[in-house]
Symmetry: C2
Subunit: 247 residues, 2 copies
């Protein structure tokens, strides 16, 4: 049986009521910090929340997904140019990291931290879930976690010992994802062929039925990620990035 | 000896002239694709470049860093809403992913793909280097790789069998990175204490001397990432994101 988490990741949303000891948490953090990062500037911070009160305050920002309060550990991985800015200030150096380029660079680094943490946790027998709502309501998370200017919550991981064993989710065939040497754009018939297996998946067919749509693409575009919501979240994201001095 | 790449990553910039077989490449890609992603939409593409001609064309975009032409494999991991948009179009669904929120979400997913690929490569005995210049000259990479609207080059990995054994680079102490429950902002004396070890590092002291600066922070802020360059790159990034329909 394949158990390497690189090949067997499943999001875990139900956790045992069993705390994670400090040694294990330190190991997870260490894996995060050892990840590759731009110029070794480490433009990120990790907020580890174990307090039930703080988790309850965070929950509404994540649309009250139950993992946020039921997981023993909630890790919010943030873009952080605040620490670097303060270091430059005490060192009489003029830092210009208040722009989108620096934010994107730091976002890549912060995500590498998060993914190393996720894999380290899984190697320790823990289960994790990426909470995609972090960038939908960043302003609410900033308030709860008291993030100063220069800090932005990018990725949230809920972590705990698994209390469920979900199946591996389907993926598009590698041929849909991989391009040889240069990008080969898709014809309409390529697109149909590459999505055929996904559309035939029984779980996905059930989604289409339950949502009274003609096909799976409509469920994504019109039910799960509708235009109005998508545009409203994006406006709030831009406002928050500006407010945090990152754009 | 610790050999788990989660804890032992070192950027490898010199490679043996030994190609990587298809089975190994497929394994690396498979690890990428198995990573967690938002809504299982897989808003990414992987361009695998092995052609010497295409690598030579890519090199200027990466400021002619030698790894781009000397590595047997160059993987450009891209944000891709083009494939999803085309799927929605052939499915008569109205998709609204032409905004910064969708770009950031897809960036997180694409970076998880890249980091899983990096770790899988390292598990196979390969060495990798993240090429941070990808978001500096995205327009040049878009031209070379023929990336259509909706696709943006986010992360480049050069991959090959190591022909060097560099030392582990230093990191800030975990106390500088980790916050308990909520963010605890740094005082000036915290900042100085948390950076003391980094500043005392002999390699870093050499950087300061060579660059005729007073301290390490000035090397970062004024030599490596000066304001004018940072702001010029950011302007180009914003223009390119708009041109690709991602902002």
């Amino acid at each position: 049986m394949q158990t390497n988490p690189l090949y067997t990741h499943k999001s875990i949303r139900k956790y045992k009521q069993q705390p994670i000891d400090d040694e294990t948490i330190n190991k997870i953090v260490d894996a995060g910090i050892r990840g590759s990062n731009t110029g070794n500037m480490q433009l990120y911070s990790i907020v580890l929340t174990t307090s039930d009160d703080v988790k309850r305050e965070l929950a509404p920002a994540h649309f009250n997904q139950p993992m946020v309060t039921s997981a023993p550990l909630v890790a919010t991985v943030c873009v952080d140019v605040n620490r670097m800015s303060k270091w430059c200030k005490v060192s009489n150096a003029d830092l210009a990291f208040n722009n989108l380029e620096s934010f994107i660079t730091a976002s890549i680094d912060a995500t590498i931290v998060a993914q190393n943490m996720a894999l380290a946790a899984e190697e320790e027998g823990l289960g994790i879930c990426y909470i995609g709502t972090t960038t939908y309501n960043p302003d609410m998370i900033i308030d709860v976690l008291k993030l100063p200017k220069g800090v932005f919550p990018l990725v949230t991981l809920t972590i705990g010992y698994p209390d469920e064993t979900p199946a591996l989710t389907e993926r598009l065939p590698a041929a849909a994802i991989v391009h040889k040497d240069r990008y080969a754009d898709y014809s309409d018939s390529d697109i149909k062929a590459l999505h055929a297996e996904k559309e035939a998946n029984p779980l996905n067919k059930k989604f289409v039925e339950e949502n009274h749509k003609e096909n799976l693409a409509q469920v994504f575009a019109e039910i799960r990620y509708p235009r109005q919501t998508s545009e409203a979240f994006s406006e709030r994201l831009v406002e928050t990035l500006k407010k945090q001095g990152l754009m």
